[in-house]
């Protein structure tokens, strides 16, 4: 995402103009735009006019609309973001207060304005939002690391794209493969068919051109991780090799970028194991998710050791922060960015203030984990928030009991 114009004022109000360049930028936009914000973008609207004679004519007109955001709809598979809201600027074709849904498009600028209302109904550009904006704009420009992972087991394959901020499950291949039986050769046949379908699907998802004329350039090919328990991934690798050697020589360009790794199952749960495998770590060393995965593992380790130096859940983490346990010297606050997507302004303020406090007052480290990543998903299971503590904090049973009473 390119930052075109930045007019954020000191108080937190202000607007930025951004130009999304990649599909993943839509995901950033999805996290930046919140209900209540003002969004200006170009739009195509069908306008129906009624003539004096009573006949109607409709025309599609290009407009620049400003809407007050009511709802966001993000489709991660196709990376499309639809923002709906009420129009607040007057044009020749629309009236104020009419509803419109803006479809943000790649390479088309949009302007996002957040304001801090007088009575605090907006949150403006808070620290988390600014952080997210920084992530989105990516001044370093080193976020090319992307990989395609095929997590598979017998008769089941998940093809997913691992980006820096999200893992998109592109397609699932499911097929009934006959088991081995006495004197039956159906299993091998079934596996071959399964490999064929999976390869076809993978190439389609990758937009991989298998013709020989597309050159020998291997630059554009992303790393392909094949992961499975047992020998399925290895068998698939072998199948691709044999295909490359016989029917589709174009596949030879793909072969160097294939890495076969182990996973515990063919489900996306085991993607964490894939990302932790040494082969993948060297391949994707500098990516955000590798660090996030590491942090999550550390956290779960502490939890397992029962050192009481790790805690999770909103109340528990807040009380730990209150006790000063998430501070300098190893305190890490892990927050899922899903918490910031909350519709409730007060809710968001609660988490933003917690983040600010840990970072600025306590001196701890704050990590906002992407909920669309494997590590973020694990964190979500823990209530979306967790913390590594600098000293052991004993849980108060009474407290949790009280909470249960409250929740009941």
């Amino acid at each position: 995402m390119r930052l075109i114009k930045n007019k954020i004022e000191h108080g937190g109000s202000g607007e930025v103009t951004l130009c999304p360049e990649e599909p993943e930028d839509m995901w950033h936009a999805y996290n930046l735009i919140r209900p209540g914000d003002l969004l200006r973008a170009s739009a195509i609207r069908r306008v129906t006019t009624v003539q004096d004679t009573g006949s109607t004519s409709s025309a599609r007109v290009h407009l620049n609309l400003v809407i007050r955001v009511k709802n966001l709809d993000f489709d991660p598979q196709s990376s499309q973001l639809h923002v709906s809201g009420q129009i607040i600027n007057e044009t020749a074709h629309t009236k104020i207060g009419q509803f419109h849904t803006l479809d943000l498009e790649l390479n088309r600028n949009f302007t996002l304005e957040k304001e801090v209302g007088a009575d605090g109904e907006g949150v403006g550009w808070d620290s988390v939002a600014v952080e997210q904006l920084k992530d989105a704009v990516d001044e370093g420009g080193k976020r090319r690391a992307e990989a395609v992972a095929v997590v598979m087991q017998e008769g089941l394959a998940h093809i997913c794209f691992i980006g820096q901020f999200q893992t998109i499950m592109k397609q699932k291949v499911e097929m009934s493969v006959p088991r081995k039986r006495q004197g039956g050769g159906d299993h091998d046949k079934g596996m071959n068919k399964f490999y064929r379908v999976t390869l076809e699907t993978l190439l389609r998802q990758m937009d991989f051109n298998t013709s020989i004329t597309s050159g020998t350039n291997t630059d554009g090919v992303r790393p392909v991780l094949l992961a499975s328990p047992g020998f399925v991934a290895a068998g698939f690798h072998k199948y691709i090799q044999s295909e490359a050697a016989t029917t589709t020589p174009g596949l030879k360009r793909l072969l160097p970028s294939i890495v076969v790794v182990h996973s515990a199952s063919g489900y996306l749960n085991s993607l964490s194991e894939v990302l932790q495998s040494p082969a993948v770590k060297t391949l994707l060393a500098d990516t955000k998710y590798a660090r996030e995965t590491k942090l999550m593992d550390d956290f779960l380790d502490q939890l397992r050791k029962e050192t009481n130096k790790a805690t999770y859940g909103p109340r528990e983490v807040e009380s730990a922060v209150d006790q000063g346990a998430v501070g300098r010297g190893g305190g890490v606050l892990l927050v899922s960015n899903k918490l910031f997507r909350s519709q409730d302004v007060a809710e968001r303020k609660r988490w933003v203030s917690l983040v600010d406090r840990v970072r600025d007052v306590e001196g701890g480290e704050v990590r906002v984990l992407s909920s669309d990543h494997e590590s973020g998903k694990r964190l979500e299971g823990l209530g979306g928030i967790a913390a590594l503590l600098t000293f052991p904090v004993v849980d108060e049973d009474v407290d949790s009991d009280a909470e249960e009473v409250n929740s009941n």
């Binding site: 009934s176 006959p178 088991r179 081995k180 299993h187 091998d188 047992g230 085991s270 779960l300 299971g381």
Partner: protein, 807 residues
Amino acid sequence: MSRHRVKAVGYDDDDFEDDDGYDSPDPEEQEFLQQCTASVQAELRAGQPAVTATTQEIHDALWHYYNDIEKSVNYLRGKKEKELKKTQAPAAQKNKGQMVPGFPAPIPDESSLSVTEFFRDCPWLNVSAHRKADILIQPLHPRLGLLGGAPEAGGKMSKLAALAAARKKKESEKSTGTPETPSTPKPSERAEGQTPKPSDTPLSLSQRLAASKLSKTSESSGGLRRLGKASTSTSSPARRPSAPVPSKSPVHAEPERESEPAGQKETEAAPEPEQVVPSIRAPPSTFASAILGSTAGPTVAEPSHVKSTDVDILEIYGQQHAEPFDFTAPSPDDVVMNAQSTAKGFKAKPGTSKTAGGQKGQADIAGGMKDLSVEEKVTVKSKNLDVLAEYGKSTRKKSANFVVIGHVDAGKSTLMGRLLADQGAIDRRTLDKYKIEAEKIGKGSFALAWVLDQGSEERARGVTIDIATNKFETENTSFTIVDAPGHRDFVPNMIAGASQADFAVLVIDSSVGKFESGLKGQTKEHALLVRSMGVQKIIVAVNKMDAVQWDIERFQEIEQQISAFLTTAGFQPKNISFVPCSGVLGDNITRRSEDPKSAWHQGRTLIEELETSERFTHSLDKPLRMTIGDVFRGGVQNPLSISGRLDSGSLQMGDQILIMPSGESALVRSIEVDGEPSDWAVAGQNVVLNLANIDPIHLRSGDVVCRASAPIKTITTFTTKVLAFEHLMPMQVDVHRGRLHVPGRISKLVASLDKASGATLKKRPKVVAPGTVARVEVELDQAVPLEAPTRIVLRAGGNTVAAGLLE
């Protein structure tokens, strides 16, 4: 065929001559008829046995067979022979329909009311004979072969014709086979029996009438009548099976008496049908008798050449409306449908009303159909079985499933291969073939394992990947081996195998270093898994004892460690037994070791240990549940088959089953139990179901087969009481139940519980430590068929983290 079989309308006697050109056959035809008659006569006489037939009969037959001499001869001979037999048979005829002078019955019995009498006063009944029209209705379709006279061997019969023939045969067998029971003969028998001796004076008028009628018509359409169910020719309601009931009303009786002369005359005339006896009183019109079923057919005096006047319209259609029907036999529809379904090899749902008699009738039909070229001769297989009763009756050996578990390379497959080979379940040749092939790829020691490792990848890598089932029998037990893979990546497959097991054989590699690594690895995990899946009994086979020179100390060390571990895992000491053995050599498996170093072991061999297993009970009377283990193509005849073990309930051929979670129904075409075809299956058996009426896309391994009447529910979230093997916290897990393997997550730790009492120790714990019992809530990504009480296993990251019972 040139005879006009159109309406012959005689307006009046005078007119008749004028109509000649229209109505009577032309000379040419008559000549032809003469020729045919002559040749038929000749044939009949020449045949064996020689029979004679009247010209009239021959004419009739020729007429029916469109002048086909061969068929006519066949028919006539059949008929005559039958009559011949009957005359020889002693016919002690007794009357059933005795008249009772009891009178007057105020309300005439509807069933015994004579219609002729009912319409007696109607003017159109009393029309003078010469004014009567004689209506003949031409049959709509030529009735080829329907008289049953067509040579049975020659030519192809239509199915219907074949059925008719079969039925006719059956009927005739029945009537000849059971010579008249003196006391109460069936109406049909009586009628048949009467035919040849009309001089007998039956007591019942109606019978006499019937007899005369019969004799008159039998020549012309005897076969036709036989086509009908019973051979009673008369359609008098009085001759229904209920006839013996002496409730004939006077209204009925009196007019019959009146008509007696006519009837008697007819009786006299009966043997000579050509003789037309002028009736004293005009009988009902053809129409009336057609509609109401006459006792006395049209007896209008007609020139003899219009023989067809004698043919009752009803008989033209081969139907006798009032004819008694033997309801114990299958209806014609049933017969046809059964035959069709048999021919197609489908099993129609049986009518519940079917009696034993009906089935016997079917058997007769089937016998009669033997001559036909219908392939499947099997009678419709028994259905609507009381499966549980069948199971009780069956004298099967006790059967037991056991799963073979242990660390990778402990020698599970080899041990089982040895067991199968020594039990003779595998023949020598196959074994030698495996040996050669295994040596060819440099894995000679794997030859025995190849008995179970059938997959090409398994053989190439020397690792069992998926479970393999095989069976062998001892004197009193039939065993099913489930050989589970030992590698940790294939624990899901092992879980599938263990879920089918009654008890377990834990194989342990006794060689130095291997035992220790195994104990840390899958030895422990497998043992915990089978225990948590409800397996009580475990046999520990300490394998590869030859590698440690049958060191008794080594054995004792292993025994000590393993039994300590198994006891903590929840096995009772009495259910644990140890056998030192060697799979490669076959020592202490089916035979005692001959190695002097192993002389210290005096206990049982492995096979003896296996035989100590008790009979395992299964919930037969619970609703049907079966987890699909595999979906495959069984062959050309069974394009879609599923295999698995029945968890509960029973099943039989022709059942409709429901597949969950797809919710699609299917038909069980056939069942194989342990590789043998069977009509039914009960819980605990390993079955292959050949299905029909379902698309394979709705079948996946892990799906559950149930009945629409008691379907299993699909759920996305459940609470379970688990024993934690590792730390539990809200985390992503894989949920396993048999072949079912789905991703999910622990969404909530509800409480940690006391192991013994189950009381809550701590609500909402942060983390559940290994070895403790906890109640957790699990969410699944997709709806799966699960129901309490079911044993499930939770795994994460390739490790088993917990196992428990669904609540």
